[in-house]
């Protein structure tokens, strides 16, 4: 059965009084690699489980190629799941695991073996038919789980953080493989993850979720470059959120003049018609750190607080004269950096890259550097600019 269009209409799931999934409506095109991205507790896994059939929705519809499947049990839906824990049956061999579901599709015995072999080949595990799950590594188990689901040729494949248990290098390799596999097979993938790098790497489109609602939906480029609010900006990479006030009378020709501390900045992106107190976001790779004497628009003096070497890049933390600390990114191209810890510098914040964001009204909380895990300062309001 081709197709694989998934439509959620006003989907809500309540546990006691709490809405884990709050009135979500979205449409996933057939053949798309679609990700649900968000921190733990945002409702992404619950949404997935509702599509799979393990949780009944409180209200709303789940349409699979136009048919409402919300009342169907999981074994009657043309949807298969790759579980976070793989859930491979330990008492069966790899081949028997992969063949498990075909019994219910009345696949004739002659075809069984060939289809199993095909599926294993697709995940590059040919030859492993007689092994048992406990003899396989984590990555191999995940592939068997994938093969077991794909062999049934569902319209939609659901993946619940399948790479969570693997180490970083393996994860990166498998991300590429999974994306390639999806293109090869052409099935709709609905992928759930909390890792923004995964979502950005693999998805055709993604939805960032926050407390049960969709904060933003779009392509990776859209969501990263044009985040709709401070939450999305901060979830997908570093956003260097700063507080500022819009200067009245400054809106002209698509730009916005803002007051941050004693400095005036211009911004060309985001909510240019906002007034009053707003948040500003800029990606680390767009900031330029220049010698102290450099003058020009959108430049704020500062001091290099810390340098963190990450291999191919260096994170430079600069403390602005306004008090905020920005994280910037410098490629390590062999040349030595012209500044060190404590050097006075001038920070250039290009207007095209400076984004004005509305405050989403939900707490952003601590902001963590996703690479080093260290907690950056909370820029969202406790420190006055």
């Amino acid at each position: 059965m081709s197709g694989g269009n998934v439509k959620l209409e006003s989907l809500t799931k309540r546990f006691d009084e709490v809405a884990a999934v709050d009135d979500i409506s979205l449409e996933i095109q057939a053949g798309e690699f679609f990700s649900l991205l968000g921190p733990s507790g945002c409702g992404k896994t619950t949404t997935l489980r509702m599509v799979a059939g393990f949780e009944p929705p409180s209200t709303g519809k789940i349409l699979l190629d136009g048919d409402d499947v919300a009342k169907l049990p999981p074994n009657r839906r043309d949807v298969n799941t790759v579980f976070q824990s793989y859930a491979l049956f330990p008492f069966l061999t790899v081949a028997e695991n992969v063949a498990f579901g075909m019994k219910y599709k009345s696949v004739p015995k002659a075809q069984l073996k060939t289809r199993v072999a095909e599926a294993l080949e697709m995940v590059q595990l040919s030859g492993y038919e007689q092994r048992r799950p406990n003899q396989l590594s984590g990555g191999q188990q995940q592939r068997v789980a994938l093969a077991r689901a794909l062999v049934l040729r569902p319209s939609v494949l659901l993946l619940d953080e399948p790479l969570g248990a693997l180490d970083a290098k393996l994860r990166r390799a498998l991300q590429v493989e999974l994306a390639a596999l999806q293109k090869q097979v052409g099935i709709t993938f609905l992928y759930v993850t909390h890792d923004q790098e995964e979502a950005l790497t693999m998805s055709d489109r993604l939805a960032v979720m926050n407390h049960g609602k969709v904060a933003q939906l779009g392509t990776p480029e859209d969501v990263y470059n044009e985040p709709a609010d401070a939450y999305v900006a901060d979830f997908l990479g570093v956003s260097n959120l700063m507080d500022a006030r819009v200067k009245p009378g400054g809106q002209s020709t698509g730009c916005c003049r803002l007051q941050m501390g004693e400095f005036t900045l211009e911004a060309n992106a985001g909510e240019l018609n906002a007034t009053g107190a707003v948040k500003l976001a800029i990606r680390p790779e767009r900031i330029n750190v220049e010698p102290y004497e450099t003058v020009g628009a959108n430049r704020v003096p500062g001091m290099v607080e810390r340098l963190v070497f990450l291999g191919s890049t260096t994170h430079v933390y600069v403390r602005l004269a306004t008090g905020s600390t920005l994280q910037t990114l410098v490629r390590n191209d062999g040349a030595e950096l012209p500044y060190g810890q404590g050097t006075a510098v001038s920070v250039s914040i290009p207007a095209d890259a400076l984004r004005v964001l509305p405050d989403p009204g939900v707490s952003v909380g601590e902001i963590h550097d996703e690479t080093t895990g260290e907690e950056l300062l909370d820029l969202s309001g406790t420190r006055s600019a």
Partner: protein, 303 residues
Amino acid sequence: MGRRQGSGRRNRWLWIGLAAPGAVWLLVLFVAPFYVMLSVAGGGINEFFQTVVPVWNPIHWSSFNFSAVWHDIVGPGAFIGSPALRTIGYTAIATVISLAIAYPVAYFVSRYAGKRKSLFLILLIAPFWVSYMMRMLAWIDLLQQGGFFNSALSFFGLPGNTDWLGGKSVTVIMGLVYGYIPYLILVLYAFLDRIDQSLIEAARDLGLSKWRTFWSVTIPLSKPALVAGTFITVLPMLGDYFTNQLLSGAPGTSMIGNAIEGQLDSPGETGQGAVLALMLLVVLLIPMIYYVVSTARTSREMA
């Protein structure tokens, strides 16, 4: 196949069906018998046949048997008092001794046995498979007048002609310990084995000596083990009658179980036996409820 009622919780009948035979069996053969016991206790006697006449309706329950038992406890010619006290005494002593033996053994095997853990486990589990009869029989053989134990005593110059099986409390207590300790060791082992080694390592790391770690960390962590072990030892032991029967047979060491059994078998006193059994049950009810509640709670926490 028609449309099902929906996934998950709405369709319960499968689970109810699976649980039903067991539930029925429990209700009919575990719960109902106690109601019968109540009815017999609150009933009367057929004077002619000296058989029991149960009274099913609670309104008509009589206190005839209850007062008879009350007299047996406190009236002149009372004979229940001493077995009751003795039961408590024996059980307490036997439990303390059992814990004193079982804890070090379980502790050793769970923490220090290393590669030989399987060997020790086999040796500890073995008595489990040896029937109770055989274990008691073994001691009866040894403690006989001409048996090994007396021979060994006289070999060491001690008097070797004591009649150990003739009604000695020491023998009964030892029999209780011997009989119940395998269960205790295994339960303690199961709990102690689950103690997270890193908690103990953390204590040592922070500067506590071995002894201090033991007292301040291991013992508190063993509390659930000790509680569970005490319950599964004390509760059944209070109803024990056969250990005394096998190793002594004298009324001087009888426990309350013997009294119950004796009355039950005597024609005309069956009702009183039922009352005694009920009284024992009531006494045990509170600790049993506590045990059941805490077990259910911990198993839910682990789920």
